[in-house]
Assembly symmetry: C2
């Protein structure tokens, strides 16, 4: 691919971006003029996934209705919580 | 006070308990028969305060609308968050 320093080339690249739909999965803060911010902060605090509230609500509901028994009886039991993350985190860091 | 081993004495003690209204501030899990559990777990996971959702929603909203700028611009800015806890925690642990 030959890089071309034009807006149309950039727009074409965006149109071909296989990952572009992931953008819709995050809350993007607004500038004071109402437009989305350009958000380059990836190593500190990323954008909030739109699914975050639902995940937190699941845990709040389990805490509310189960109390300490949520360690064993929650939808995602808290005691082995780290086990739910093992496979995906291994993929992220290249572990086996 | 002379302890008396009767239900009426216990009910009287409950009626005079200055802290009893705090019970209403927590979500109490139910037994299978629909009654509140008797919850003695205080050193592991306490009952969920009814205010918890609102506190979490405040932080979710700030993350959603501010992104990383929440460290400085959130209602409760994240960077000095520990400072908000200092006075109350000092009271809890008897520090000055």
């Amino acid at each position: 691919m030959n890089f071309v320093n034009t807006a149309s080339f950039a727009a074409q690249m965006d149109a071909n971006d296989l990952l572009k739909n992931f953008r819709e999965q995050f809350h993007i803060p607004k500038q004071s003029n109402g437009e989305d911010v350009i958000y380059l902060t990836g190593n500190s605090l990323g954008l909030q996934p739109k699914t975050t509230r639902n995940y937190i609500e699941q845990e709040l509901k389990d805490w509310e209705t189960l109390g300490v028994e949520g360690h064993f009886k929650a939808k995602n039991p808290w005691l082995p919580y780290h086990e739910f993350l093992t496979e995906q985190m291994a993929n992220v860091v290249g572990a086996k």
